[in-house]
């Protein structure tokens, strides 16, 4: 199946501005970064989490811990497919009594977030879990919503949302791609 870019919904500067705003929102909602930790979902969620942590440190003057989570073993579709690549989970702090901000690039069905919450709970009992995403594209299949959203992007199910981040993809952009008949 072939895809072609239908629209570029965020470019590099737009992503930067959205992340700066989210960093401020996280600090405002939690009255500072005291008990805060960010956990990114591999691969691009980790990149977004790292960028948010840099901004939070710049604003607050103190670093905020960042962890990375692979949810392959928590997915509800293990029986249907294996994850393409299993990465290591690394939570270098105690989650007990912390406010955990889960970070992902795209929020879609909510199943990844459900799996990520289960995974976090296996490390301990955080005081609360919040969710930050760069793009919310709708079509939820579970009662899950994000606390911080970079941009709401209405999409059709058949479309694809592609997030590119320079650390992984060499460029920064959020695109919507639509299917084209491949002849």
């Amino acid at each position: 199946m072939a895809y072609r870019t239908k629209a570029v919904v965020m470019d590099g500067p737009a992503i930067d501005r959205a992340l700066t705003r989210i960093a401020h929102e996280i600090l405002e909602a939690n009255s500072g970064s005291g008990a805060l930790a960010l956990v990114g979902i591999v691969t691009r969620g980790t990149v977004v989490a790292t960028r948010l942590a840099e901004r939070i440190e710049r604003i607050e003057g103190s670093p905020v811990p960042v962890g990375t989570l692979d949810i392959s073993f928590y997915r509800d579709d293990v029986a249907m497919r294996l994850s393409p690549e299993v990465h290591r989970t690394d939570i270098p702090f105690d989650v007990e009594e912390r406010t955990i901000v889960l970070v992902d690039d795209v929020l879609y069905t909510g199943r990844t977030i459900r799996a990520a919450m289960d995974a976090i709970m296996d490390y301990g009992r955080p005081r609360s879990i919040q969710l930050a995403v760069l793009v919310d594209r709708g079509h939820r299949e579970l009662p899950i919503r994000a606390d911080y959203v970079g941009k709401n992007v209405p999409t059709a199910r058949k479309e694809r949302v592609t997030v590119m981040l320079s650390d992984v993809d060499g460029a920064n952009s959020v695109d919507i791609q639509e299917e084209v008949d491949s002849e």
Partner: protein, 313 residues
Amino acid sequence: MTALSTRHIMTMDDLTTDDIMLILDTADSFAEVNERRIKKLPTLRGRTVVNLFLEPSTRTRTSFEIAAKRLSADAINMSGSASATVKGESLRDTAATLSAMACDLIVVRHAYAGAPQILAECMDTHVVNGGDGMHQHPTQALLDLYTIRRRAGRLEGLTVGIVGDISHSRVAGSLVPALRKVGAHPVVIAPPTLLPARPDVLGAEAATSLDDVLPGLDVAYMLRIQMERAEGMPFPSLREYARFYGMNAERLAAARPEMFVMHPGPMNRGVEVSSEVADSPRSVVLDQVNAGVAVRMAVMYLLLGGEDHGAAA
């Protein structure tokens, strides 16, 4: 590559080099889980794993059982004395019975070589060989590779000396081909009476003097002398065996400083390995046991995950 090329793991021949590396990499992720406070994943919820152990075993069975339970699969143990086999049921009928109960994976240990093959032929279930006779014990070889890679940082180019009862050992039967597949160099070391007639068929270099080859080894893998078969042992005495083929402090001093000692367990202290060596930081025996759970979790995950049950992916 994301899936294994095989449905069953009966011998090392079932696995390609890519398969082996996928299992070791996946095991790395599970090793991290085994260090957590809550050592359980929901991954194989609702799946049933039967450990059919028709020959006595504690560590391998326990290791498979823990691995299945940490993945939330239901693990059922069937042992030789408790099963219908003592009532005369054939292996084929046992297979048909287990198949009818719709279990997803069977781990089988059997006194006869080829028993896992028979099981696999007459049922749809995945079969993992947990040791068959004097033939193979593939998950042991996989956990050994995992342990070596963790300690040495690589597998390729390493010289691994396997010392002991080569001709009767299923551990050696799997470890030699496993080492060859990952580019390591196996050397089997034993008194001539414990060497197979054609070690070249096995694919390993053979030596009869441990002291001669010791300085060239990166790893010394000491096999267990099977005390239960002590009568008619093909060497004069255990003391003599220990003197010529046992790993002790003097031999450790003569080896490369980074060489480490492995043993599949259970150890006969003072025979294959002196107590001093077994408890030294150069022994990775407990790392092997630890790796066993992670590697078996990886094997179960890769065999049972990603199965298409007619559901759209």
